[in-house]
Amino acid sequence: MTYRVIQWGTGSVGRQALREVLRNPEFELAGVKVYDDAKVGKDAGDLCDMPATGIVASKEPAVARGDTVLYCPIVADYDEIARLLRTGANVVTTASNVYPQFYGPGVYDKINDAGIDGGATFHGSGINPAFMSEVLPLTLSGLVHRARKIRVQEVSDVNHYASTAPEIMLDHVGFGKSPEEALNADAFLKGMTAYFSESIHMIVDHLGVTLDRIEERHEVATSKVRVVLDNGRVIEPGTVGCRLFRWIGVVGAEDRIELSTFWKVTAELEPAWKVSTSKLVEWTVSIEGTPSVRCVVGICESFDPDSPDYLKGAEAAAVVGTATHAVNAIPYVHAAPPGVRTFLDLPIIASRGALRD
């Protein structure tokens, strides 16, 4: 069967999702929602560097029962999501909400009830948090008899991201700012804390343990060198060149789950943190237990040493991974019962048809 899809939002993730919907014969594009006046009336193909499709972007695309909305704005609008679910359309989102239970009954009941009323399913997806901070550690937890601690660390060179999205990485995350300024969390950073808290709650709920609290232990290091980003913006020496975010789930007065992201624009740091110079985006999942296991996942354009793309394009690859994970969920979400369905409720989301070429 083919699945009718409405692409909702065509930013960096939405554009990649749209490409896959157009490319994969399992899906039929039925509409595109855009937020920007300049994009209204454009062909969906034009919005993602693909051939023309005849489907024109609008601010209010028609949504029908049985459609799936790939909901890819940065922030979720729960009223809008509930309305879509009530019309009978499934919603798969990359705008956090991988575990909406975390936000309490005000959010969870609103979307779960709307899904049940409309006979539609809601599913939140993502790469980190989500795939790396939930799906992968829970998969690996099958290897242990007992666990003392679960840790997931992302290490990423964010030069590319900082130059393509300076409003996020410089203004909010704080590269190029003073340490004091960067450590003073704004609304964006509070959002990050919420997203990673969703993951911690999903893990502890699944394992049936009670969380005492989530602690934040964030640190910064300053750059020892002047870093010029591709967009011309400059990270001056003495300003933030590396951020370590840590969210810790405390259970029984012990640190049991630690999710961290280690973002850098340079490896020349003060204090002299030991930093990988790898251009890959790498995630390390460690479970300390009986027995202990360590898993490292890297992502890039190609791991083939003969390819011109060998070990290149890691950050862009992570965006593709984020979008693809959501698109690949559509058949499984379509088959799932109505209401909120998290990764805990669905089977393995495999990339069906990825080997067709």
């Binding site: 343990v209 360590r294 898993c295 354009e301 791991f303 669905l346 048809g353």
Partner: protein
């Protein structure tokens, strides 16, 4: 409503390399209760199940009688013998017990076998599932999970690198059953004893990966090579003299048309210095899953601790044990990883 309620009553069928770890875990788990064990030797017959697993006595005695297992009141049989018997499997299922095995059966394309198992499950309202590190995890579950990130996949390659020199299994098993320590002349005319079994179970694993990714495998290609020691090599099971089998490389390819789309490369070593000298280093135990696709994804995982090859057996036991709640609650019939929810150690992970 789930078809069974915890605590689940467990019978262990086979108490060898993997089985003893299953018993240890069953005895210590508050969610499980050991109610019996089937053994294959007079030496173990009548022994306390706890003692077989090097624990304190439990009062439950092991026996050799199959019928006693069929007649027993239990929820699940953990079926871990060295050699599987489909008649026994079907009899267990028909007697009303679920069954988990690490000995193949991760996916079944053989209609006749599948029909027999499903008929037995229908009779007993029972479920069968297979779990293990490879097949069952490294070569199928992990690439399926990782594939979610990829919009295009050209090939999936799975490496298993094992140093077996420190394994404490008997020399009979390592040198006899696994085929190490033969001299060059014997090796040249002796195919590895495990080749047929390995071919069957790895093909099942590749079939599951293919089914999950939505394509059909047209053909398989299998090869195997022995590597010989270049010096006398001391191992835990015994001395391997120079010029004897000290390494084995099993290679399995799944093809679509004439293109290899899945490749399992297994390297087992008893010694560092071998001829041919493989590129793959002598490491404790490492699995590498590489997806050549868009994007490319590479996943390396290994146990952390002493005697890693032994930890591989513990991993297999853990995957069996951690599947128990989902299998006991699943509808009846033959189930694969593609049918069940993402299995994690729901009841097994205690933060202790």
């Amino acid at each position: 409503m789930a078809k069974r309620q915890a605590p689940f009553r467990v019978i262990q069928w086979g108490t060898g390399a993997v089985g003893k770890y299953c018993i240890q875990r069953t005895i210590e788990s508050p969610h499980l209760k050991q109610v019996g064990a089937r053994v294959f030797s007079d030496a173990k017959n009548g022994k306390d199940v706890g003692e077989i697993a090097h624990l304190a006595p439990t009062g439950v005695k092991a026996g050799m009688d199959k019928q006693a297992v069929y007649d027993a009141d239990a929820d699940i049989v953990l079926y871990t013998p060295l050699i599987v018997d489909l008649d026994d499997i079907c009899a267990i299922l028909a007697s009303g017990k679920d069954l988990i095995t690490p000995s193949g059966f991760v996916f079944l394309k053989d209609r006749a076998v599948l029909d027999r198992i499903n008929a037995a499950c229908a009779k007993g309202n029972s479920t069968m599932y297979a779990a293990g590190i490879h097949p069952g995890f490294a070569g199928d579950r992990v690439p399926l999970v990782l594939s979610a990130l990829c919009r295009n996949i050209r090939k999936v390659t799975v490496y298993e690198l094992v140093s077996m020199a420190d394994m404490t299994e008997s020399p009979d098993l390592i040198f006899g059953y696994l085929g190490f320590n033969m001299d060059a002349e014997t090796a040249a005319k002796t195919p590895p004893p495990l080749l047929k079994t390995m071919s069957t179970i790895f093909k099942e694993s590749m079939q599951m990966l293919a089914a999950g990714l939505g394509f059909e495998i047209d053909s398989f290609r299998t090869s195997h090579e022995y590597a010989l020691t270049t010096e006398d090599s001391q191992t835990v099971p015994g001395l391997i003299p120079k010029g004897h089998v000290g390494g084995q490389h099993f290679n399995y390819e799944a093809l679509v048309g004439d293109r290899t789309v899945i490749e399992f490369k297994t390297y087992w070593r008893m010694a560092e210095k071998l001829t041919p000298a493989w590129d793959q280093p002598m490491k404790g135990l490492t699995y590498i899953v590489e997806i050549d696709g868009d994007p490319g994804v590479r996943c390396v995982f290994e146990p952390v601790g002493e005697r890693p090859a032994e930890l591989g057996l513990i991993w297999t036991a853990a995957l069996v044990m951690n599947a128990i709640p989902e299998v006991c609650e699943a509808p009846s019939g033959f189930k694969t990883t593609l049918d069940l929810p993402l299995i994690a150690a729901k009841s097994a992970v205690h933060f202790t």
